[in-house]
Amino acid sequence: MAGETETETPYTRDRSESSGRLRGWLNDRSESIVLGYPLAMLALFFAVPLFLLIATSFYPKPSGEYYQVGFTLEHYRRLFTVPLYFRRLGFTVALSMATAFGCLAIGYPVAYTLARMDSRLRRRVYITTIVSTMWLTYIIRSYAWTVILSKNGVLNEFLLTIGAIDTALSLTPGIWALAIGMTYVFLPFAILTLYSSINNIDPELEEASKNLGADRFQTFRNVTVPLSKNGIYSAWMLVFILALGAYIVPRLLGKPAQWTLPVIIGNQSLNNLNVPFGAALSIAMMVVVIVILVAGYELLGLGSEEMAGAGGGTDG
């Protein structure tokens, strides 16, 4: 057999250095390009603006005027001394977390079912539907929910008809409308993220688990969920972050007491032209969020896995 393969058609590799010059060049420099390009983009179009932002948060802002270059700790002092802002920050974080958990609770079963769906056509229809909701502007989606939740809305009419309530509930604007609206607009992000992740899990693993005597819930908890841990964290994090930045939905579906920090930041920056204070608020928010994300990362043990993975393929 060996002789046969070596006679006429030599199925061997050509080891000569004939590769295209550009390709060779790219390969030689791939590391610096792959790392250099994103870093350059981020440095140029993010680090510098961020630095400006940080600097701005120390600029004085006289009443009625625009900010001036200078140095003051006034904005940070205000941030820490007026309880309003930290209260709002707390509310924003809590709302965003709740939204993220809500999206996981609703999104996981949906994503799971999609990933385990036998019919390709049905899966495509469902996914397309879910994706298409993302294309609706936040304004119109918020409006759709006011149609459903308002006093003369669809939900109230339904509840009144079946006699579940006597008088119409006033749901919007309000905390429930806000929670529902936030969950709604960010749910597709969770579903798609989770779907990609669950799809990578071999269904046979679950069957193996069941075969070993685990019931459906145990399988789910012990096999499926741990294996999609990365996906769960990613989905949670994406929704959490998106929810933190939400501006339109809280404005349209929440009461003033439920407006999130970005609404206040927007108000400070756009209406009061107090960009430095807006910047200070943003930086405070950023710090809190980073702490939460890092804590979550560590808590889920993703950090330690990362450490192990960093060694690459060692067997030592």
Partner: protein, 387 residues
């Protein structure tokens, strides 16, 4: 013309604040970005070019509200202006209230994304303080005399900062399918029989609830009750009492219009012009000038300091106060005209609709208050009224 010299200086300053360093940065970064994205945007206008006239490719840009507003202004003002003067002009729809940051930054950078913009009084005052607007001589506006006196905003030396373009009255508008009777008094906002049924603007400087309370209740003394923080606090205390009635705090008109139309709220503070348009389009709403007077404010045409076309811009402002233009805008938008009644050709009915009891009966808000004490006010407001 001694009064124009300061203007000229300002213009010159604006045009020469483009040091080479920035040029360098500009070109290198732009080149890098272009290379990185492979996408070419339209080039920005670079200040420093010779003063020339607006062209088809670079028309005079007019910043206005969008939607119906822009449609009407295009038909009644911008297009006729171009026809009349031969100067190409184009309206740019903007959320003007939010745009001051942008304008300020642009002007500081020596650029003029728009040349003329219509702004509410608070923004006009703010822009004046920040040096956003072009100050120019009253002699440049031929029809100045027609404008109601206090609607011409002037600088320290008598030069012009802004000229009233049209006004709006903040009234009470009621969904008559929900409520038997339209609300007719600001006091109704304090009436607890309307628990959660009403709506109001959430921004102190847009809803003017402080002005309204100070003019409505006998214990206060109009604008004089809004001079000191202590007095303001007392008024605010009173304003806080509207909270049980307010089921919806809105920031932009449209946010209140839908719930009002659908009866999710019974009545709201609402602009007279917007309400009349709503009614005309079939919404079951009635608007009333409250007994105590609607809150009357005017939008001013202001010229952006860094404009390349100050002359064309002034011509445009002059055109905007022509009586036929004012009449048309009033007819179509139900806004309040800014030139004297004698100059206009309004039907009695229309006059009645837009003026109600007349400008003298209106509450003229203390606009400056909302700027001078804005931080304190916004914090107090969020902590008391909106809590």
């Amino acid at each position: 013309m001694p009064s124009t010299s300061s203007t000229d200086r300002a213009e010159k300053r604006a045009r020469t604040t483009t040091p080479t360093r920035r040029r360098f940065l500009r070109s290198s970064v732009a080149a890098g970005t272009l290379a990185a994205t492979g996408l070419a945007g339209c080039t920005s206008r670079i200040v420093g070019s010779d003063d020339q006239s607006p062209s088809e490719s670079d028309p005079l840009k007019i910043g206005v509200y969008g939607g119906v507003f822009k449609e009407v202004l295009d038909g009644a003002l911008v297009e006729p202006f171009t026809e009349d003067s031969g100067i190409p002009a184009q309206s740019e729809p903007q959320s003007i209230g939010d745009a001051m940051v942008k304008l300020k930054q642009a002007v500081d950078a020596g650029e003029a994304p728009v040349d003329v913009v219509v702004v509410a009084p608070d923004a006009r005052i703010r822009g004046t303080d920040m040096g956003t607007w072009l100050n120019y001589s009253p002699d440049d506006i031929s029809r100045l005399d027609a404008v109601i006196d206090d609607l011409v905003a002037k600088g320290d030396q008598g030069d012009i900062v802004g000229i009233g373009g049209f006004g709006w009255s903040l009234n009470l508008t009621t969904n008559t399918e929900v409520m038997d009777q339209p609300l007719t008094s600001w006091k109704d906002l304090w009436n607890d029989q309307y628990a959660s049924q009403l709506a109001a603007n959430r921004l102190p400087g847009d809803g003017f609830l402080l002005d309204i309370a100070a003019h409505t209740f006998d214990e206060f003394n109009g604008r004089d009750s809004l001079r000191t923080k202590e007095d303001i606090r007392a008024v605010m205390e009173r304003v806080t009492e509207v909270n049980p009635q307010i089921g919806l705090w809105w920031a932009q008109e449209a946010e209140a219009q839908q719930p009002l139309r659908e009866g999710n709220i019974g009545a709201t503070q609402m602009y007279n012009d917007v309400s009349l348009v709503m009614k005309e389009k079939g919404a079951p709403v009635e608007t009333r000038f409250p007994e105590e007077g609607g809150v009357l404010n005017f939008g001013s045409w202001t010229i952006v300091r860094t404009t390349n076309y100050p002359d064309a811009a002034k011509q445009f402002v002059d055109y905007a106060i022509r009586s036929d233009v004012q009449t048309q805008i009033t007819e179509q938008l139900y806004s309040v005209p800014t030139i004297g009644e004698s100059e206009l050709n309004l039907s009695d009915d229309l006059y009645q609709k837009v003026y109600g009891p007349g400008p003298e009966a209106a509450i003229r808000p203390y606009n400056r208050l909302y700027l001078e004490k804005e931080q304190w006010l916004s914090e107090q407001w969020k902590q008391t009224v909106l809590s």
